[in-house]
Symmetry: C2
Subunit: 393 residues, 2 copies
């Protein structure tokens, strides 16, 4: 059974091909797992060749049976690496300008491809990422399902959140819930060395621990070998407890964060949470085609400043992140980037996670995150869980 | 508090430096997260420079505070990419031959580094991987802890394994148990596009579904966007249920597989399981310094042939994998590779997972997997869970 409709795959290919033509490419040999899944509906290809015009070609090492069931894209069996050019030549493809995703393709593989094809190569990763940043009706449907999945998990939190419980145990219960709801487990990031396990469930001071990750929060993790997310810290009364776990349905991710606590939190943290909600509101008033990532970031900074909280916005000290959101879809770090200096201009049907957060060294993090669709009118909120801070007794 | 002892880090660096000297390198700029963790004890570096002699240098973007606490290696703050050569020059390092891990470094990053340093570069990934394949007393201690962790999970299986339960729900219960036991969640593979979520819990026909992954088993997963591991299949009486979940402690992985079933399994499957145990025994009689990965594979194939099961060994048809085991440590796919044609010669204190498995198209998989340390004498079994097939009623 086909997983993604043919017309959807054709549309995706058409968009990418226009961009390849603008770069004067004869074709692109794509090798990143989510790019290949995006273009074919299967993860069973080793490479996908996209000519400047005409059908894609999937090159399969394993598993041919699953690939054939999952994609309408023509497939060929890939025996050895050196046979790649002749395999393409058999289908009439002899690129003299070949596009590659150099942002993530390993250098050794790039050098081998450049050698075996002995043709000009160019980086088409921006073309691929810009193609993927516009979400179709099919993709929005997957995202809405992911929103329902993560919402169902949030509804269980009042049962699981108990004073005196380890962060890690609370997190394990949420992970267990998400898996039963069909979460795929693996949470993908495209960036080199970036990694994620569900997301960040953090309490109190853990919310103030930044990590190597390109994210406002880090957390202790279970050891320096996995220094992000929940650790062995005990959840205490009066601390902010933030749950930043995404829902994932058919590969598509909805990212959202909600604030909880056992008993009330400090007034200062309540005010910061209100400021985060206000930032979200101000951004949404302006979230429309044509605005840049940098302008969105500036809106957020202005609200934070007015609230007297600019030193705690998205971190503090030298770990302060200069961003307020990001595109997402099959990966947590898709285009556009909503950050200081980002030139990305938003367009219709871009999907972004907005995550204004305030971080205090000892008190931890408070903030909000929702996934939004940019439309010609008001942005559509894809997340469905209520925004408010929920206190359990 | 330092996470890894100084003398351990010094020893690791010394081994790598000897290999860099043999390659006539002035130094290596290493950027892969587990390589950097291995050499420093922290994941908070953006790059680690290893000169041919003398101390390493960690270059930190974020988080400097955590990096300083976790590693004794000298650190410098990395502001911008173009400042890399001058930052090194300040410490007296001006490499004219620079080693890089080209097997995993993205091509775009490689091209930028080659340009900004304008010096000769060479691939030192084999030197790095060969350094990492010999495990120290410290590392063996972590692995033994990981073995205890996954064993504690296995002891819970008789409680969780019930006829009529979804694979995914059974798996979620095991994942929940592992997390409570301190499992870090993230399961790392070095290979491009390779990914893993805990491992594979499979029942009946699911055990016969190969995937794109370099692994004998695949499984349905929850969708074509995550086509490995458990899916929504119901566990039935009389089916083999295999649990291939690793334990991970301080980053170090123990890989093991155990066979379970609700009620007895077919005689044919029992015989295949006995053959897998016999392969393990025969390999262990020969598992010693000097034997090659290819020879180990040939031993396995000979036993499978004698048992009349060569067509089901490590897969069937065109998805049959030509391997029987792999090195492991911080990643599931470390050196050595125990596969057809593998030239890797085993040495003392190499740690390998041996996983003889038989796979049948409709009945699924039976087999065994344990993690072993190669010694001058008999191999040490690091896994501690009993090997036998456990039947619950």
């Amino acid at each position: 059974m086909l997983h993604i409709p043919i017309e959807e795959l054709d549309r995706r290919r058409d968009v990418l091909q226009k961009k390849l033509q603008l770069q004067d490419m004869d074709g692109a040999l794509l090798a990143q797992n989510m790019t290949m899944y995006y273009l074919t509906g299967t993860m069973q290809c080793q490479y996908v060749y996209v000519p400047a015009t005409g059908p894609c070609l999937g090159l399969v090492r394993r598993n041919m049976e699953r690939a054939s069931e999952e994609t309408p894209v023509p497939l060929r069996r890939l025996a050895g690496f050196s046979g790649l050019p002749s395999l393409l030549a058999e289908t009439g493809q002899k690129p003299s300008r070949l596009g590659l995703e150099l942002d993530i393709m390993p250098a050794a593989l790039y050098l081998r491809i450049a050698k075996v094809f002995s043709c000009e190569t160019a980086d088409v990763s921006t073309a691929v990422r810009e193609t993927r940043q516009v979400k179709s009706a099919y993709e929005l449907k997957q995202l809405r399902q992911a929103a329902r999945q993560v919402d169902a998990m949030h509804r269980l939190i009042p049962e699981f959140l108990v004073e005196g419980k380890e962060e890690l145990v609370f997190a394990a219960e949420l992970e267990n819930s998400l898996r039963r709801l069909g979460h795929q487990g693996i949470a993908r990031m495209r960036g080199f060395n970036q990694e994620m396990f569900f997301g960040h469930v953090l309490s109190g001071i853990s919310g103030g621990m930044a990590s190597f990750l390109d994210s406002p929060t880090g957390g202790p993790g279970v050891s320096p070998a996995q220094p992000q997310g929940p650790g062995r810290k005990i959840i205490r009364r009066g601390e902010p407890v933030t749950v930043d776990y995404g829902g994932i349905h058919n590969g598509y991710i909805v990212d959202q964060t909600r604030l909880y606590s056992v008993g009330p939190i400090k007034e200062e943290l309540k005010r910061a949470f209100e400021a985060a909600l206000l930032i979200q509101e101000r951004i949404c008033e302006n979230l429309a085609p044509g605005i840049s990532g940098n302008e969105i970031f500036e809106i957020a900074v202005a609200v934070a400043q007015k609230a007297g909280l600019s030193e705690n916005f998205m971190g503090f000290g030298d770990t302060q992140a200069k961003f307020v959101g990001h595109g997402l879809g099959l990966e947590f770090d898709e285009f556009p980037i909503l950050a200081k200096g980002s030139p990305h201009l938003l367009g219709e049907d871009y999907v972004v996670a907005l995550e204004p957060k305030f971080i205090f060294p000892t008190d931890g993090m408070v903030g909000i995150e929702n996934t939004w669709r940019v439309t010609a009118g008001k942005p559509e909120k894809i997340s469905i869980t209520p925004d408010g801070h929920l206190t359990v007794s």
